[in-house]
Structures are given as structure tokens and as C-alpha cells.
Symmetry: C2
């Protein structure tokens, strides 16, 4: 009498094909068909070394397994019995044990190897993760957690076909497709999410929540675009503190130096490097409120001549006083950070703020510099004359402490900007700009707005033309919305033919600019799309090459969205819940 | 020594032009230039009658004024002193006092007159709202609250140009542009927001929060699309309870009959009529799990032939058993409701579920009905033969208790569907369909997806074509995102020439379908765009006619978004906060 239902349940479970629903998909993996249950005494152990932040991460995972309300449907709602019991997970160092944060803050060249791990889960007994470093073990631990589900308690109580697993009379944490053998390493060393805290202030707890979510999908760089023309929330100690005093939105909407250090440490312990960007010489109008003499073109009209968005105003970069100010600001920011990298911006430099500024004209004249804006080429050359010393002298404070600048692609291809050959370039303006950066031999971070600008698709926000307003057709330069499928369809090697060119691609960046984003919609805009982005740059093209297959990714994408949701991240659904429970049923046929 | 700063502050305040930042904009209004402060003993009084829900609403407003963290910037960040003290607000009935809910649930014909009010706020003393009814007084009270701001406490502490008002050493609630004279009434009687709780379940507290937000912008109908093919969360008592038992996503994701009654009462007290839609005969696949014999074409492949989205399956409406079931389901739902209106759907009826169903074919043959699907016209005619008795008999249970059906436009223009002349038609498929409905002489609710489908613009979600997936260009039929400016640019009278035609337009509806929406992004998708929608149908075209001017609405739209935000509604920013503090500065010049 007892044997019959067990056989029946096993038979049901066996009908579900093994599928690894982990984002990013591990590089190589095999699965079986045994439902492996977490034993009530399940423990995570660390062997071969010790790192405090790894130990803490293990405790967090253990606690989450005890409580997280996960009830996804990898086996399409079958009832199940346990085919084996997992009693422990061993994290085993094969190299020296250092903190995760140390590795998160290492140079790019070391990251790929350091983040590699293997994960072996048998049908019974002990699972093992091996890695050379704590950050490798941490990545493996993240994968391990993402293999596990929890069932609803109790037998079906009349609810049919809901797609939620059930197991006897208790909640059971289980992995449906044991044994698992996973060997994994990132395809690229730079996998960044950019957040912008100037157009709208982002509370610290919101930033920390995003860091948790980034870690869950193995993103390893938080590019923090902390200040801009709209507000200056970075509250320096000392004299520079006036910048936030005068240009934070409110006295409460600031980040103190301790706040920044706190975020650096919080992220580091989760395998994430915090790269702060102090965008210069453009995107700096907020400085005007404290040092008006450093800013040209402040709040001029029509603003569309003087800036890409209001308010206009940029550092008078030809002026040695501006260089001195910028060096000081960079230096003080660098003192808060641990990353080998530092963002200095360089995007959207406005020529009118240079050509229509008498103080700048005087400086050019005094130096005997060309001052000709008759064509785009002349204008770029004119700007370059002053930009070069500005860049060289401000980047000097980065280099003299052994760190490396990160800039936007204009600095590599529009200007003779004075950047060094080692500078990392964020290519954001589409394939042509990317090709230009590669051609010049710079290392490049793929940040193409056509794929990875997650704020796009909400329509334009600057319209003031009454005739256009009447139609309501207020578009934006970066429409439409970038779907998760669009992100996943990205080929970082498109149009690159030689290995030397491909070697210049160090990774990618998904950017969430904040003109139309604040804490109210930040998570909905980021997740799960940033997870699709993360898969491109962690998982790579695999044997079949880029682009990755978005069709077979649907189940994974549902999974990651429900996991983020279960952790309190407001990730948006990619399909009706009916489809999440039956991913294959909702493909267009 | 004391006089000088006071004079200076007054001078600053006087430079800000009076601007009424209320959404929807009142029909007629005048403002002055006196900053009127709420006296510490400020009280709201009701005269000439009594209605419990109005009294409660007054207490809610009074409490919010005591605590809400509003610090918007109608006067661009000036410091101010109080030019007068407001000691009371009187709500004065000029007609019989009945509860707000009673009026919310009245017929359309009475709504416009009942919601009318006048609001007079002098520079000192007592403000007065007069209206015939409690719902008119409630609308006036809502306007009154939206005129008030609160300052940051304390003098400027070094923070310049932040655009936040300051007043001495305490938080001060104030109205910047007294005296105000407002005469207001809605242009249309039907101003609906549709929420869909089938593609994703919406928790009750989330629904209640949206009702609060709807009331804040004078929306007066909550169209609750409560069930659909994906899930059936409506948990009836008795035999029909099996529908939710078998097709709610989980046993917890249901609405009991008490839950529905609770929402009806909650909304009624806030001037909102709850119109539930039980969509038939399409959008009913969920019924299959309980009564498979009533459903044709359940989960057939390729689904795109059998339905507009998965899962396929629709009521076998030619079958008398189906009619009986539907009558019973309608009857039981109607018993929970107080609205004079009831939605029966009728959209996206699938012909293949009729033409490829042997049981249906047998019924047609037995009745000697035509069964010809050779052209679209033949197919529509064939469907109409069975649809007519289905509609007549199911609508009968609505009419026999004195209520009126509401259907989608297919029922008026694609089929001889059997609807009565009094039926309200939701025109959703663009200008042509709207014109068709008007031509047939039906009353119409403007629900054009090009303007008011707030879920659009997130890309397609049903793609399974590997070649398209490779490009990532997964579009949706209803792209792009509908901006608030798009909503505001709507002209309900476009292409209508005669008064008789215009009289058929009873209002509008903004719909948020939930394929890609759940509680995580619901509010960000709804707000503040639904407020722009509300303005079109409350404020009307004014003296200048439609479309309304989106340029001058920017300040109002910022205001409503910050007010919703202050109430905990996750409304999205429409521009950087810098612009919210200086709306005129961010128009494209």
C-alpha cells in the first residue's frame, strides 16, 4: 500500500527534463534526475583556509535556506520524494585564503582566474566547492544556493495544476536534478552595473539591496556615478564639503565619506568592486553653487546648445585653477576607495561652453592656443588642446597611487584627450564608437546604450515643443525599452576578427541613468534585466558562440526573477505567472 | 533690525507666479499671491448634514496635514512668512446628506452633477467647500488638500538653491497662492482605472493603496478584471468555489467574497465605484480545471491560432450548459457588488475554438445553424449565431436586477452579439473601432490602447522565434510606452462632429494589464501616468478645447508624483529632481 504512491511520484518527477535554472548559466555543467533533499542537519563547512567575509556569506546562505519562500517549478508541479539527502556543503580552498574583498578589489587580469570554481553535488552525502580563492568559493556558493528550491508544505489540497512542488507535510529544500557537476569561470573580468545618484538620490539601503542582487548574479563591479550637474550628494570632509552643502537636493540627501567607505566594504564582502565616477569636465554644473568661477555656461538658455540635458554648465577645463580643483577632488575621493580603477567621465563635453566663454578665450589667447570652432573637426581639435593637459594632470593623481582611469568613449575617439594607453574605455555610443575604440588599441568595456541602457524606453522627458506635445509623441534618443532578450542577444565580439581585437574586450556594463528613476522604480528597471546582462559577460558565448540562445533562457530568467523577488527585490515578471510555472508553453509557435 | 529680513522674504515670495498645481486641474480657478498658513488649531467642520464616510475622510486629511512630509516647490525655494492664517475648512451640504459610497454607486447620468463643488479660500479665516452631495464635498476636500504644502523646518543652513521652502524654525503647512476661488465639476462621468489580477495576483493591500491613489486624482471607477485564462483568484462560496480551488495560482492567492465586498466598501467610501469584469466567453481557460466540458480549445498548439496569448481555451458558448454556468457565475458575482454596471468582457473571441470543436459543430448542426468560416465576415456571422443567445441570456441576469452590462468594442462592431442598446462599450482598439461604436449609437468609454494601455512598452513576452530572438528585437503589438504626455494629448472628441456623437462619450479608462506587471512594478506603471489620464476626463478640454496643454502641465505632474510618493505610492519621477524643483528650466528650447 505504501509502495504504490511513491513509485507514482517518482515516475512523475522523472518526466521533467533536467534543466539548470541558474543565471548566469555556468560555463559547463551536467545534471542528473535525482531529487536531492537538504538534510535537517545540513551544514556549510570551510576547509583549507579561512576568510571572515566568506564565513559570513556561508551563514547568510544557510539562514536563507532555512527561511526563504522559494517555490518555483523546475519539475512542473510534481509531487516528489527525496532520492537522497545532502548533509553538508564543503567550501575547499586550493590556494591561499584571503578575504573576498581583497580579490574583488584586485586588477582585472587576475579576476577571471580568481573567480573560477568547481561544484560537485552527489546524490547523497556531501557537496564540494573547490576554488583557489575565497571569491571563487563565494561564486560557487552562489551557484549552489541557486540550485535549491523549497516546496510548499502538505499534499495537494484540491489545487490542481498549479505547478508548485509539494512534499509530504513539511516544507522541504531540495535540488531536483542531482548529481550536478559544474566547472565555472567568468568569460570576462569586468561585469558592471552603473547606478546614478545625482539625477535622483538613492538611499543607502537601496544601494545595498542592489549590491546583494548584483552578487546573486555574479556582477563584480558597481560603477557608482555618484555626482553630476543636477546634484552633488558626495559630502566630503573639509573644504570640499561645501559642494554637497550647496548642491545636494536636501541636507539629508548626501553620502558622507563614511557612507562611501561602508558601501565599498559592503560590496567588497560580496565580491564586488566599487568604482566611483566623478564625471569631468562635463556633467559638473553642481560645482557652480560653491565655486562659480570654475564653471562655464551655467544654466544658459537655450540649454540644448549648452548641454545634453539641463542644467548646462561644465568645468572651465582650460583654467589651471580648475585643474587644481579637480585634482584635489579626485585625490580626496580616491582616499575613500579600494578599487584599482577610478572613473573620470569625459563624456558629452560641450563645445559651446568653451567657444562662448570669454574667460576661456582669454586663456587660449594667453597660451597662444588655436581657438577655432568652424567645423566639428576644428572644434574637437581646439577642445583637445586644453583637454589634454587637464586630463594628464588630473589623471596624474590616479596614476601616482598606482590606479587606472576609466573614461567614456569620447575621450578615446573624439579628442586627443591625453588619456594613457592603459585607460579603460566605456564604449556606450553603439557599434561605430566601439570599433573606433578597439581600432585605437584601448581596452574596452561594452556599455552600448542599444542593449544596456536600462533607463531607456520611458519616452522623452525634456520636451517643450507645443506642437509635438499636442501629438503626445514624445520620444527619446534611446528608445525603445531594452528587453532582457535584447541584453541577452548582445555579441561582444561582433565585427571583431582578430584575437588581438577580442583580447581588448574586458567586459560589459549595464547602466541605469536616473533622470526618470529613483528608489520607487529602480529595482523594477534593473531586475531581472541586469541578470540577462550578467549572463552575457559571465557565461560568454559557450561552444556555439554569441549571441546566446534567448529561447532556452526563459526558464532561467523566470527563476532568477522569482529568486530576487523572494529576497525582497522588486524584480518585474517577464511573463504571466502561468508561464513562469510552465515556461515552454508561452513561446510563440 | 527685525523688519529687514521679513521684507526681503516677502519680496522673494512675490516673485513666484501663482500656479495651481492640482491634478486634475479644476475646471475654473483663480489664485492670489498671499502665503496662507494653516493655523495650529485648524479644524475641518461639516455643516448642513452628515455622512459617516465623509467625516472619516475629513479626519484622514486632517491627520495627513499633521504629518505628511511634503516639501515641494511652488515658489521655487523661497523663504516665506505667513500672510494669513487659515483656522478652519467648512464642508457645507447644499443638498441631502447621503454617504459618499451611495453616490459613487449611482448611475452615470447623476455623477457629473453630484461630483460638482465650489471651494473658496480667503487670505484669512475660514475656507468653505459647498456641494449638493457628500461626493462633491469629498472631491472638494481632495482639491483642498492638494493645494497645501509643508515647508522644511529651520532657516537655510548653508544649503542654497535647493528649491525647498523654509519657514522659521518649524514645519509649516501653507497654501502659497491665496485667495483661491475654485468652481469644479468633472467633464465626464466615467473615469476608470482597470487592474488585472489574473496574469499576476495582486494582494489586497496593494489594491487598496491604488484605490487611495485613484481617489487622490478623482478617478471614480475601479474596473477590476479579476479573473482570466491564466488564473481564477475569485473564490466563490459554494459549488463555484472549485474554480479558485483549481485555478488560483496558490491557495493563498485568492479573493474571498468578503474580500470583494471589502474592496467595494473601501472604494465606495473614497468615491469610487467597483465594476468587476468576468470576461466571457473568451479569456476563460481557467474554468477548464474544474469543468473541462465547458471549455473548447484548452491549451492547444500552436497557441497563437487558438488564442491571443497562452493558454488557449474559451467557453463553449454555443452550449446551453455553458450559458447556464455563466448565468450562475454572473449572478453570484453580482450579489457581491453595488455598482449599477457589470463587465462581461467579450473581447478577443477566438474563431478557431469554435470552428475546430466537434462538440460545437454538433450543436450548430442540431440547431440547423450556419457553420461557415471561409471568410472573416462569414466567420463573424457564424459566431454571432451562437453568441447572440449566449449574450442575451447571460446579460439577462444583469438586467433583471436593474443593472447595465459593460463590454469591449468587438461586441458592438464585430458581431451581432445580442447586446442591448444601453450597454456601455469600452473602445480599446484605436480610432477606427471607436468610430464604429459611435456610429452604431452606443455609449462609449474611451480606452484606446494607443494612449491608455499602461502596461505597453516593455517589449514582447511571447517570442519563441529563434531568428528574432538572435536580434533581440522583440517588439509588442502595443509598443511603445505611453508617456504621461501621450495620455494628456488625448482628444475624446477627435473626429466627432455632432453633439449627438459627443454625448455618447461617457468617459475613459486607463488599463494596466498584468502580463508583465505584479505588485513589484504595479505602482511605477500606474503613477503618475494614470493622473494625466484622470485630468483628461475630469478637466476636459476647457475653453481652448482638446488636447490639453502638456507643457504647462509639467509643474502639476511633478506635484502629483511627489504627493503620491509622500503617501507611500511608488510613483515614478518624470524628470530629474533638479527639474521638479524648477519645472520651467527643463523644457526643450
Amino acid at each position: 500500500m505504501l509502495l504504490f504512491p511513491i513509485l507514482r511520484f517518482l515516475a512523475l518527477a522523472a518526466t521533467a527534463a533536467a534543466e539548470l535554472r541558474v543565471v548566469p548559466e555556468p560555463t559547463t555543467h551536467t545534471e542528473g534526475n535525482t531529487t536531492l533533499c537538504l538534510h535537517s542537519s545540513f551544514k556549510i563547512k570551510i576547509e583549507g583556509g579561512r576568510a571572515d567575509d566568506l564565513s559570513k556569506a556561508a551563514i547568510v546562505v544557510q539562514n536563507r535556506l532555512d527561511s526563504a519562500p522559494l517555490y518555483l517549478s523546475p519539475t512542473h508541479g510534481s509531487e516528489f520524494t527525496c532520492g537522497g539527502q545532502l548533509r553538508s556543503l564543503v567550501l575547499r580552498f586550493t590556494g591561499d585564503a584571503k578575504p573576498i574583498a581583497t580579490h574583488a578589489q584586485e586588477r582585472l587580469e587576475k579576476r577571471i582566474e580568481n573567480e573560477a570554481y568547481t561544484l560537485s553535488i552527489p546524490v547523497d552525502g556531501a557537496a564540494v566547492i573547490t576554488a583557489k580563492t575565497s571569491i571563487g568559493l563565494y561564486r560557487g556558493l552562489t551557484t549552489f544556493e541557486n540550485l535549491l528550491y523549497s516546496s510548499l508544505p502538505g499534499p495537494r489540497d484540491g489545487n490542481k495544476d498549479h505547478g508548485h512542488e509539494r512534499h509530504k507535510n513539511k516544507r522541504q529544500v531540495y535540488a531536483p536534478f542531482a548529481p550536478y557537476e559544474i566547472t565555472d569561470r567568468p568569460a570576462f573580468g569586468w561585469r558592471a552595473v552603473l547606478l546614478d545618484s545625482s539625477r535622483h538620490y538613492l538611499p543607502l539601503d537601496v544601494i545595498r539591496r542592489q549590491i546583494d542582487a548584483m552578487a546573486a548574479v555574479k556582477i563584480n563591479v558597481f560603477h557608482w556615478h555618484i555626482v553630476d550637474s543636477q546634484s552633488f550628494p558626495l559630502k566630503f570632509s573639509g573644504e570640499l564639503g561645501a559642494l554637497a552643502d550647496n548642491a545636494a537636493y536636501t541636507p539629508a540627501k548626501i553620502y558622507t565619506e563614511d557612507d562611501v567607505r561602508g558601501i565599498v566594504d559592503y560590496a567588497g564582502a560580496r565580491g564586488i568592486d566599487v568604482v566611483i565616477e566623478i564625471d569631468t569636465p562635463g556633467h559638473t554644473a553642481a560645482v557652480y553653487h560653491t565655486w562659480p568661477e570654475l564653471i562655464a555656461g551655467f544654466v544658459r538658455h537655450p540649454w540644448s546648445l549648452w548641454a545634453n540635458e539641463p542644467p548646462s554648465g561644465q568645468l572651465r577645463f582650460a583654467d589651471p585653477a580648475t585643474i587644481e580643483f579637480t585634482r584635489k577632488m579626485f585625490k580626496q575621493t580616491l582616499g575613500l576607495l579600494k578599487s584599482p580603477y577610478f572613473g573620470t567621465g569625459g563624456d558629452e563635453i560641450n563645445a559651446v561652453c568653451v567657444s562662448n566663454d570669454t574667460q576661456t578665450a582669454d586663456i587660449y589667447a594667453a597660451n597662444g592656443w588655436r581657438y577655432n570652432f568652424s567645423t566639428k573637426a576644428e572644434s574637437d581639435a581646439t577642445l583637445s588642446v586644453a583637454l589634454r593637459p587637464f586630463t594628464e594632470k588630473t589623471h596624474e593623481v590616479i596614476r601616482e597611487i598606482g590606479r587606472t582611469p576609466v573614461v567614456w568613449d569620447e575621450m578615446a575617439i573624439e579628442f586627443e584627450s591625453g588619456i594613457g594607453n592603459d585607460t579603460l574605455i566605456q564604449a556606450w555610443r553603439g557599434p561605430e564608437s566601439t570599433a573606433g575604440v578597439i581600432e585605437k588599441g584601448f581596452r574596452v568595456i561594452m556599455a552600448d546604450y542599444n542593449y544596456f541602457y536600462l533607463d531607456c524606453g520611458q519616452g522623452g522627458w525634456v520636451n517643450g515643443n507645443p506642437e509635438i506635445a499636442k501629438t503626445g509623441n514624445i520620444n527619446s534618443w534611446c528608445d525603445p525599452y531594452k528587453t532582457w532578450m535584447k541584453a541577452l542577444s548582445y555579441d561582444p565580439y561582433l565585427n571583431l576578427t582578430t584575437d588581438a581585437q577580442k583580447d581588448l574586450v574586458v567586459g560589459g556594463q549595464a547602466s541605469l541613468w536616473a533622470e526618470q528613476t529613483d528608489a520607487n522604480n529602480l529595482e523594477a528597471q534593473l531586475w531581472p534585466r541586469a541578470a540577462a546582462f550578467a549572463e552575457v559577460f559571465w557565461s560568454g558565448g559557450g561552444e556555439k558562440g554569441f549571441p546566446r540562445d534567448a529561447i532556452t533562457a526563459v526558464g532561467r530568467m523566470h527563476d532568477v526573477r522569482y529568486r530576487l523577488d523572494a529576497r525582497g527585490i522588486r524584480a518585474v515578471p517577464i511573463q504571466p505567472e502561468w508561464c513562469a510555472l510552465r515556461p515552454g508553453e508561452c513561446l510563440l509557435e
